[in-house]
Symmetry: C3
Subunit: 343 residues, 3 copies
Amino acid sequence: MQVSFTPAEIVSMVQPKSMRGATSAPIRGLASLSSAVRGDLSFLGNARYKADVAATLASVVLLPLDYPGEPGADQLFLLVEQPSVALARICAHLEQMLWPKPTPGVHPSACVDPGAQVHPSATVGPLCVVEAGAVVGERAHLQAQVFVGRNAQVGADNWLMPGVVVGAECVLGKRVRLQPGVVIGSDGFGYEFVGGKHEKVPQVGQVVIGDDVEIGANSTLDRARFSRTEVGEGTKIDNLVQIAHNVVIGKHCLVCAQVGISGSTVLEDYVVLGGQAGLGGHIRIGKGAKAGGQAGITSDIAAGAFVNGTPAIPFQLERRLAILHQRLPDLFKRVDALEARKS
Amino acid sequence: MQVSFTPAEIVSMVQPKSMRGATSAPIRGLASLSSAVRGDLSFLGNARYKADVAATLASVVLLPLDYPGEPGADQLFLLVEQPSVALARICAHLEQMLWPKPTPGVHPSACVDPGAQVHPSATVGPLCVVEAGAVVGERAHLQAQVFVGRNAQVGADNWLMPGVVVGAECVLGKRVRLQPGVVIGSDGFGYEFVGGKHEKVPQVGQVVIGDDVEIGANSTLDRARFSRTEVGEGTKIDNLVQIAHNVVIGKHCLVCAQVGISGSTVLEDYVVLGGQAGLGGHIRIGKGAKAGGQAGITSDIAAGAFVNGTPAIPFQLERRLAILHQRLPDLFKRVDALEARKS
Amino acid sequence: MQVSFTPAEIVSMVQPKSMRGATSAPIRGLASLSSAVRGDLSFLGNARYKADVAATLASVVLLPLDYPGEPGADQLFLLVEQPSVALARICAHLEQMLWPKPTPGVHPSACVDPGAQVHPSATVGPLCVVEAGAVVGERAHLQAQVFVGRNAQVGADNWLMPGVVVGAECVLGKRVRLQPGVVIGSDGFGYEFVGGKHEKVPQVGQVVIGDDVEIGANSTLDRARFSRTEVGEGTKIDNLVQIAHNVVIGKHCLVCAQVGISGSTVLEDYVVLGGQAGLGGHIRIGKGAKAGGQAGITSDIAAGAFVNGTPAIPFQLERRLAILHQRLPDLFKRVDALEARKS
């Protein structure tokens, strides 16, 4: 994407606490400290790259307030409280250029049932389907090839990317962003074993998504058996995540890619789950608890705990056991030697 | 969803062995024992919630035959052999209300090749594609934005939800239900390493799905190298599951979310695989075998076995080893102490 | 699929070094040695099936040069350097029959923005969306219901299967094949924790895919924060794989199903990752390194190493530790016995 900002525009976006040096170069790109060329903006987001600042060719560099060095010729240092937050602000401007505001209205190729309500400020893009009884809120954006089922509700300022499926009766809050291929409201996986066959337990509940939730590409959230599967306000879910029926996720959680959460499990607020973690059903993860990648969690986790491994145990213990595990060959030898002593 | 049943309608659906008490409340919702209010139906599906029955406000409660207590005022107890099966029967009625029978016919926005055969009783919904030579059977329902490739066969009473892809030459039995985003007939992952490059082994086989199979959202089933990838009658597959080429899955298996099964592996009938389990290629899982969540299976499993862990071993042994693993710090100390003894 | 080749056509495709016997049977199918019937072609791809050759009913059998046996009556042996490569050549012919060359042009139901460039030799199938500024190269094939976003580039001879999403600004090389449901260019999972909330870090970079890359069904590749997520030439990625933002994958790698690679991690050339392996962020996997299925990799791996387990360690060590782990019950008993000795 073509970027073009003056140094003054950058200053106005990030509102630095102080500045050092100056540059006349227009900003044409963003790059890491070591790969930046003249005309790029860069930043020190992680202290371990500190040594790269002195040699960077970037024309504008975002730095923490306590950074001691001086800029080179034709180089501008902007000192801010959190360089990565400042960078995010710049990227938000870029994002508006990358994703220009869509034109409101329903694309002629979209199939919108006469019994659906689409707000005049909303955009229903090409080849979308909106079934009867569905509601599409103010400024909501169904980009292309999106499906919204019967009586589903898409909230204000939602952005549903290509190929998203929102099943019947499901409800999305405000400012929800669903990446391509997300499925909301697939059937829960519930069967009764009767007469040698798995008889389907119909899944007639909903999925209810809170405000400011984001869900990653091709993730799947099952509808409840008869009540609600819930995702709380501000929670962010990565790609290819599986959320089973009747799961309740609290506010402001982070669920990394390929996590699987089994039925009826509860995540309290601010829980963080590492990639590929798997959670059993009917358990509760306490507020602010964290789990490492690939953790296998089969019982309740206390608030604030940090667990790892399968079965998941406190992180420090898991690390210690992993080290002792690697010393098993030595331990077996030591026991051999002890046995060889005269008793 | 708006529910409205009279108590008499509920009685007629579940056919209880006996009843206690009576209620005049119309049934407006389903809820767990502890969250139910007047007008709700609830049930005792799991003995550990038995204590909740006495205090429930539900107007109608489904209970096992041996439940000893008496209902409250304006409350009806229905005693049945399996309360959760009885509930499933009620939910099946709700499901018919949630998913009304589609109108037969081809939506004008669908692209159906003149060389395809769509039964007059079938429904091809908006923006579906049906290629030449494909057959769509009696009462089959392609909901919306479904793709059915050349010469593929969609059986009678199938329900293919939005975004499903059925690749060329693949065959679906009767009453198959595919959740949104399922891919049937992607290429198997096969390459020959020739001259420093991975040369593609063309994948020209089929996927053949038996009657009464259900597959969860965004799961993927690869076509065989040149024969068939098979899923047997009555098997249920959850979301985000990967089935590689030439896998043969027997009848009435349960495959939980995010399981991966590598090429040419065979599951006999009634196998149950926990979530995120991974199976190597070219192995055989015996009839009725079970694997725990995240199990890593790299060799054959005997019929009826229950395995866990990576590499998967018998469940009881895995549990015992996990406990001993946690006692390693103590064991190292004990060996230290033994070594410190005078020899 | 209906197959029909004369034995002479088979000979012409595989160019054998030598032949034994002869057959008059037209070739109607491909099958394994043990399941083949008259009219089938079979092959010995794996030495452990060698004993099956003598009894096979296949009319034509592909065999390695050193195979000593003689054919039966009406049976033709073709001796080639690599039977499985020879088979792949035959399957390539079948593939052309299975997937006939599409007719160039834009299907009338597709929505192609006037500001997009579609080469006259390309095929844009039914119900595809191509946004403004996008480029679709020579002979590229967008099969059906594909989405190509603003300014994205689809290279020559690409094949994008039904339901593929290529996000804005992303670039695909030549001869790229994307299986159904692949998502290229979903947002990276990046947030700053500010004031008790996860503030989105806009993701404004690209995904750049090299020539001859193949990506499996429903896999997801996130766009970079502001630079590029890259997949090198000739790399093959299986189904349901997650590639996070800023990941750089080298040339000719194999990434098996359900692998997850966290942000900014680098795979050098010829890396092989087994199914369900999980990689942490900001690490480097050296050239030609291999990881077993379900491996959990959290630090750099040296070129050529073969690792296994979680945390991943050298394969041989991991195997040895797994065996010792299973001997823990005995070890505890031995230590009990030592303690019981008189000191």
